[in-house]
């Protein structure tokens, strides 16, 4: 548990230090726009979305973290790809009775708690493993309802959908436009694992 606390603190410090760094710019490079008026508008939306993703903390959980020379840092080569498929998590250790109720993996993409085990999603537009088949409406509805694809299983902690769901349609649409502008990355994130007591 101590290691988890240290990791969380280190992650927070790393986030605070990141904006403006080379790594941050790589993670949020905005694709070049075509020279049409519509493309300019689209580019403006994408840039707005990039800004929101950068400042709303999406990379906190959706980009795997790694240990760098100065401590934990986002792995910019896997930006917003979610929990790495090749990182198979063992069953989470059982916590003793007490105020500590959740655990986080080293990449900050896997979490265990009273809700079971959750994995951060691949937000790139890969059609099979990411958001490639989603529409903007699906995306907004998911964040407003807290349900996968807007009507499926509950979106699990620590995803802060109750807060993000209060953003305007315009801002959520801009975030979606930015995410769809990313290069698709095939990374099949595991399905969540329900808490043992509910598996009956």
């Amino acid at each position: 548990m101590t290691r988890n606390l240290l990791t969380t603190s280190a992650l927070a410090l790393a986030f605070a230090a990141l904006p403006g760094t080379v790594g941050w710019k790589i993670m949020h490079a905005v694709p070049a726009a075509a020279s049409t008026a519509a493309a300019v508008v689209d580019q403006a939306r994408i840039e707005r979305g990039a800004y929101l993703v950068r400042t709303m903390g999406c990379n906190d959980c959706h980009t795997p973290w790694k240990m760098g020379a100065r401590g934990p840092e986002p792995d910019v080569t896997r930006a917003l790809t979610g929990h790495p498929a090749d990182m198979v998590m063992p069953p989470p250790p059982k916590l003793p009775e007490g105020p500590w109720v959740w655990l986080g993996g080293a990449t900050n993409t896997a979490f265990a708690g009273p809700w079971g085990v959750s994995f951060s999603a691949n937000l790139t537009p890969d059609p099979d493993t990411g958001l490639g088949k989603w529409t903007q409406e699906t995306f907004i509805t998911a964040l407003r309802t807290g349900r996968h694809e807007g009507k499926g299983r509950p979106i699990l902690p620590p995803m802060p959908w109750p807060m993000y769901g209060q953003a305007t349609d315009e801002d959520l649409g801009a975030i979606f436009a930015y995410l769809q502008s990313l290069a698709p990355v095939k990374n099949r994130v595991p399905a969540p694992v329900d808490p043992v007591e509910s598996q009956r």
Partner: protein, 357 residues
């Protein structure tokens, strides 16, 4: 550091909501709800009862009973619809009726004869549907508007299992967004007079209930189609067991898994338009159809929706049997397994090998 604190706070919030059967949160589906379009504060003011007092149902409000009821943890349900005087339903597309502005629908849920909640769906304007739930008091004398976020764990329906009053976002999860919500359970198949005698949890038609026949005879559907009376729709298959299962799956799953939704990874359609067109084709589309959802114990990438002869290797069965939050189907509105339907589904899958042509 602030970000870290916020993140931790969010996680704590998530953990605190876990005892509920659904996530809580200040969800607003419509960006700006006109106050005039807000649901009334009391059920009595929605137009269901005579003189706006809990008691007799207004005779202009008509009861109906879908032949394939949605599973709701075994609760008893009563349903009504009210159309504005002189208004008709646009049935140009027989599988997608368009209801006139002013249409109101109610569904009352009871447990052991005690009324629990009454849900309300109202087409307030051409571009706005209002949805709400009203919660009954202990002695059943009044029902008040539930909070927009619903009431998690409102009543125990079985030891350790509690029914939640849905939030408005839950209404939208099934009925769709407020600007184009869809009415469920009131369509040509559900109201057909060619009722399935083996329908799971099927309810008897009672005097005065609207049916496809009465809608046609009373000219409430436009355009008129005499075949609604002479050849009412049914699940199209020669096998009575398949008919019953597809009816159930269409009512309980087809709302989302309809071929038109954006749900990734579910290629088959259980929409009622498809089961009445060619039920056997629907079955064939399920058999061997890969699903992204991983069936426990099945090799990675090998999970299918329906494996003839093997219920435990059929995702439809495994998820319908589950009541774990992340696995169960349907994903909301139920905390108890539909034992009767699960058993029927297992029997059907067991013998489907010989039915898949």
């Amino acid at each position: 550091m602030t970000r870290g604190l916020v993140c931790a706070g969010v996680m704590l919030l998530g953990a605190l909501t876990l005892s509920a059967t659904r996530p809580a949160g200040p969800v607003v589906l419509a960006s700006a709800v006109d106050a005039d379009l807000a649901p009334p504060a009391r059920l009595a003011d929605t137009g269901l009862y005579v003189d706006g007092r809990i008691g007799d149902i207004d005779p202009r409000v008509r009861p109906f009973s879908p032949q394939y009821p949605l599973w709701s943890d075994g609760m008893t349900k009563r349903r009504w619809i009210s159309l504005p005087a002189g208004a008709t339903i646009d049935a140009s597309d027989e599988h997608a009726w368009v209801f006139p502005v002013g249409t109101r629908l109610w569904k009352e849920f009871s447990l052991d004869s005690r009324r629990i909640e009454t849900r309300f769906l109202w087409r307030a304007t051409a571009s706005r549907w209002v949805s709400a739930s009203y919660v009954w008091n202990e002695d059943g004398t009044d029902a008040a508007l539930a909070p927009a976020e619903g009431i998690p764990g409102f009543v125990e329906v079985a030891p350790g299992r509690r029914h939640s009053i849905p939030g408005r976002s839950d209404c939208a999860a099934c009925h769709g967004p407020a600007d184009r919500a869809q009415v469920l359970g009131f369509n040509a198949l559900q109201l057909s007079t060619d009722r399935d005698p083996a329908a799971i949890h099927g309810e008897p038609l009672r005097p005065g209930m609207l049916t496809l026949r009465t809608l046609e005879e009373q000219r409430l559907l436009v355009p008129s189609r005499p075949e609604r009376v002479t050849a009412p729709p049914r699940v199209r298959t020669n096998d009575p067991v398949t008919r019953t299962m597809l009816g159930y799956l269409s009512a309980n799953c087809g709302v989302c898994h309809n071929g038109n939704s954006e749900i990734a990874g579910f290629a088959a359609s259980l929409a009622y338009r498809d089961v009445v067109t060619d039920g056997d084709a629907v079955v064939r589309s399920l058999v061997g159809q890969q699903t992204r959802w991983q069936i426990p114990g099945v090799p990675e990438g090998r999970s299918v929706l329906l494996q003839p002869g093997a219920p435990e290797q059929s995702a439809i069965y495994v998820r319908m049997k589950s009541r774990s939050p992340s696995s169960q189907m349907a994903p909301l509105g139920s905390v108890l397994r539909d034992e009767e339907a699960v058993a029927a589904l297992a029997r059907w899958i067991d013998v489907t090998r010989g039915r898949t042509h």
